[in-house]
Assembly symmetry: C2
Homo-oligomer: 221 residues x 2
DNA sequence: AAAAAAAATGACCGGGTAGTCATTTTTTTA
DNA sequence: TAAAAAAATGACTACCCGGTCATTTTTTTT
């Protein structure tokens, strides 16, 4: 999506630009995020951005792709078949997610912040795609657990899948509310969101796993 | 908060103004909502709004109060002590919430949309207050159920309370995603959000109650 | 070193917003 | 009906924004 001009850029400048916009979009809504402000901060001309990207939306799509690719490197290797049950698998996904955050705070929080951009119709499409994929993945997982008898099967697939999805998001919000995590502040300071909180985070993960386990696990076993 | 001038207004005009802004803020973020557009639509001068309210924030606070008061009329009467267990109580709260929506679509969706205005610092404070109150209420409920032995007590109060709170929000989102409910469309058409969906909604409520029940109920009984 | 290609620039355009306030219109009081 | 009080008005200010493009600067090629 970005132009050749952008790809040919000095890697240092390229990263500086990417990071500055990741930071902006990680803190603000799509509509609130200001290209003018960021270029002022970067000390480059606004016109340049429009030679690099196809408008604000093109820039945003590029950042989405970039951030997603980085996250995939951390998470794609985690396979359900390598774990005895769903919950150890789920926990490992979270552990790797934390590592992703520790090493790529901007990408991590950009992705977390995606859902706040729902109000802009242009971005809503992108988000809907993300959502579809995520829900499809959860649905497939749940189906598998039901098939092998680990999950109770008296609930619609959609409900169980959405429930897990929502619970996994709730963990992050729990950290914000009860552990005093403030992503925006930390991103503004260019710090990792979960830095120094790994242990506490995993404790909370275990609490929510306990809840999900009770809610979904087959009581016959 | 509104001026005397506003309170002395012809009730019809007063309602027209209130409704128009409820509708705007129900569909848009605080920052996205445009006073200019609404007054154009209403056919009144922009200056009037600034004689009625203390700026955009004052207007917003007035709408919050108004909507909350209406909702309270529906929900305040539901007492835990009138129900044999938490879940019938919870279900009744939802039933009354649906009635509130059917009869007051604008107020209902204004309140639902509140959380989308988090990005504006001025409104964030207001939202934080709402949140504190809501969580305190859930925490108290959970404590009570743990005390009387209906809920398991091996989880932190905060976690259990937040879990219920989040699950109750998930029900609305479930409706949007899987039942095709689109609040913004319906509000724009001045229709109730849940109109014609009461039955389906309560089915979904029951599904989430089942999940929460498994998750939280004391297994010893 | 000269010519050609590539990249960077920033003034400018059209559009939007919240909020102000001197003036006009309407209503109430006397 | 005339004077006073209350309410409504909308042009105006000061500020944003995304996006454009003719011009200038830099880099590459010849």
């Amino acid at each position: 999506m970005p132009s050749e001009t952008f790809n040919n850029l000095n890697p240092v400048k390229k990263k500086a630009i990417t990071d500055a916009f990741l930071r902006e979009f990680a803190i603000k809504t799509y509509d609130e995020a200001s290209i003018s402000k960021v270029v002022r901060q970067l000390g480059i001309a606004k016109g340049s951005i429009y030679q690099y990207f196809d408008g604000k939306l093109g820039l945003f799509l590029y950042l989405s792709d970039a951030a997603t690719q980085v996250k995939m490197k951390y998470v794609a290797g985690v396979q359900r078949s390598d774990f005895p049950d769903y919950w150890t698998f789920f926990r490992k996904l979270y552990e790797d997610g934390i590592n992703f955050d520790l090493e790529n705070p901007l990408e991590s929080h950009f992705l977390h912040n995606l859902r706040n951009s729902l109000n802009s119709p242009s971005v809503a499409d992108l988000y809907a795609k993300f959502m579809d994929q995520t829900l499809a993945a959860f649905r497939q997982m749940v189906k598998h657990e039901m098939d092998i008898g680990l999950f109770r099967s008296d609930l619609p697939l959609d409900t169980a899948a959405f429930f897990i999805y929502k619970s996994s998001l709730a963990i992050y919000e729990h950290m914000e509310i009860f552990v005093g995590l403030s992503p925006k502040e930390r991103i503004a300071q260019n710090r990792s969101v979960f830095d120094g909180m790994t242990e506490k985070m995993l404790q909370v993960v275990d609490q929510y796993i306990a809840l999900m386990k009770n809610a979904l696990e087959n009581p016959n076993l």
